[in-house]
């Protein structure tokens, strides 16, 4: 007597299975993967409708769209993984315009041979981050490439949001006299990543600061609608972000090293590797630039929020036809904080 049910469908083997070319072919295997993995994890009305697109009404107002690709290696690191990073990263890009993020789309390019257990872990992390942030993943796509042509998995997320009335935040709005504020400690993410790389690991796990910042931004915009600039200092670190804004706004900046918040462990790890925390990536921090008069209420609003408790004013925007970012060192001298040259690599010299 057969013990097999008539409508039995062999489930996807998430324990030992691997991605293969059929998962991207558009056929039954792909449909099953989408159903058992993505739908089950993200589970919302749009995905359940089973269409190639998601339909929704948008509130009136100016819309914002942002997109980001995520190719981080290693895929899993202390404090996070490529999954939650991809959700947080795009939510943050949308939020940096002052917008409230509404929906996300997610595409996956999977490498043939990638373990399904890892994929499941990543998707679960994304779903958890999406739910916690209140921003659903409403549509997506999956493709598979041959082994050797992809680094395990590449994820691209796109997000849309609505900018409230009276908010006009852009990189070219910084003006001489404005205060420059950072929301918290620098360099956590980049050091967490680098310390996981082969040959560079420490025994102390420094955790990535990956986080969705839209809640913090909402609180900031409510307190000070006329914020001039917001940006999250990701690749290239704070130094790159400040140089970008200085160039866009055609002004200079002067920051004070003494004020820069850096965790002692991050500082120590940077010493080991010969890195400068100013150039190390952050994934849960933002830079805010506002008029001098707005600095105090803005800072108060930030510090009242869990993701802004260590917010601090680090300097001022100044007039400078050369658009230099300068720093008063804690030692007493002054120096440039230049653009990042190439990639930040550890050094022995």
């Amino acid at each position: 007597m057969s013990g097999v049910l008539p409508d039995y469908v062999r489930p996807v083997d998430f324990k030992h299975g691997r991605v293969d070319m059929t998962h991207g072919s558009g056929g039954r295997a792909m449909a099953q993967l989408i159903d058992e993995l993505f739908l089950r994890a993200f589970d919302n009305e749009w995905l359940r409708a089973g269409n190639d697109s998601a339909r929704f009404a948008v509130p009136a107002g100016r819309m914002v769209i942002a997109t980001d690709s995520h190719v981080v290696s290693p895929l899993f690191f202390p404090g996070g993984d490529i999954g939650c990073l991809s959700v947080h990263g795009t939510i943050n890009d949308v939020a940096m315009s002052g917008a409230a993020p509404l929906y996300l789309a997610a595409t996956f390019v999977l490498e043939e041979g990638f373990p399904l257990s890892d994929l499941k872990r990543i998707v679960a992390s994304m779903a958890s981050a999406s739910r916690a942030a209140g921003v659903p993943v409403v549509t997506g796509d999956t493709k598979v490439v041959e082994q050797g042509k992809g680094d395990g998995v590449f994820i691209t997320t796109t997000g849309i949001g609505i900018v409230p009335e009276g908010v006009d935040i852009a990189g070219d709005h910084a003006r001489p006299g404005d205060a420059i504020i950072i929301s918290g400690t620098l360099g956590d993410h980049g050091v967490a990543i680098m310390s996981q790389r082969e040959n560079l690991s420490f025994e102390t796990a420094i955790e990535s600061d990956t986080a969705a910042l839209h809640g913090l931004v909402a609180a900031m915009v409510a307190a000070v609608p006329r914020i001039h600039c917001l940006r999250d200092p990701t690749r290239g670190g704070l130094a790159t972000t400040l140089n970008e804004i200085a160039r866009q706004s055609r002004c200079g900046m002067l920051v004070r090293e003494r004020e820069l918040p850096v965790k002692p462990q991050v500082s120590a790890a940077c010493e080991f590797l010969g890195l400068d925390p100013l150039y190390v990536a952050n994934e849960g921090k933002l830079v805010a630039i506002a008029s001098a008069g707005d600095a105090a209420p803005l800072l108060a609003a930030m510090r009242a929020h869990p993701l802004g408790r260590e917010a601090v004013i680090i300097g001022e925007v100044i007039e400078d036809p050369h658009h230099f970012v300068q720093m008063d060192t804690s030692f007493g001298g002054r120096r440039n904080v230049d653009w990042l040259t190439g990639e930040q690599l550890p050094r022995i010299c």
Binding site: F202, E203, I206, P264, Q265, A268, F272, G274
Partner: protein
């Protein structure tokens, strides 16, 4: 040249290996170049090797030299800090 940092020896987990700590970050380094290192000692670490022990008395003496420099010339307001 030669990025090297002072680190505190926390433990000696294996022969010729020290577990060192800098600002809360821990790493294993080789003791192949320095003899007689004990937990609690400070060593200078370069590319994964301890190069020499750091002498705490000399360090204190050096800091005192800095502090004594220019004392006579420091304006009253600053010296009061």
């Amino acid at each position: 040249m030669c990025l090297a940092i002072p680190a505190r020896v926390v433990a000696l987990p294996e022969p010729q290996t020290a577990l060192i700590d800098v600002g809360g970050v821990r790493k294993r380094v080789s003791l192949a170049l320095v003899d007689g290192v004990l937990p609690g000692d400070y060593v200078i670490v370069h590319v994964g090797y301890a190069l020499t022990r750091l002498d705490p008395e000399e360090a204190a003496r050096t800091l005192a030299t800095f502090a004594a420099a220019g004392l006579a010339d420091v304006p009253v307001t600053e010296a009061a800090q």
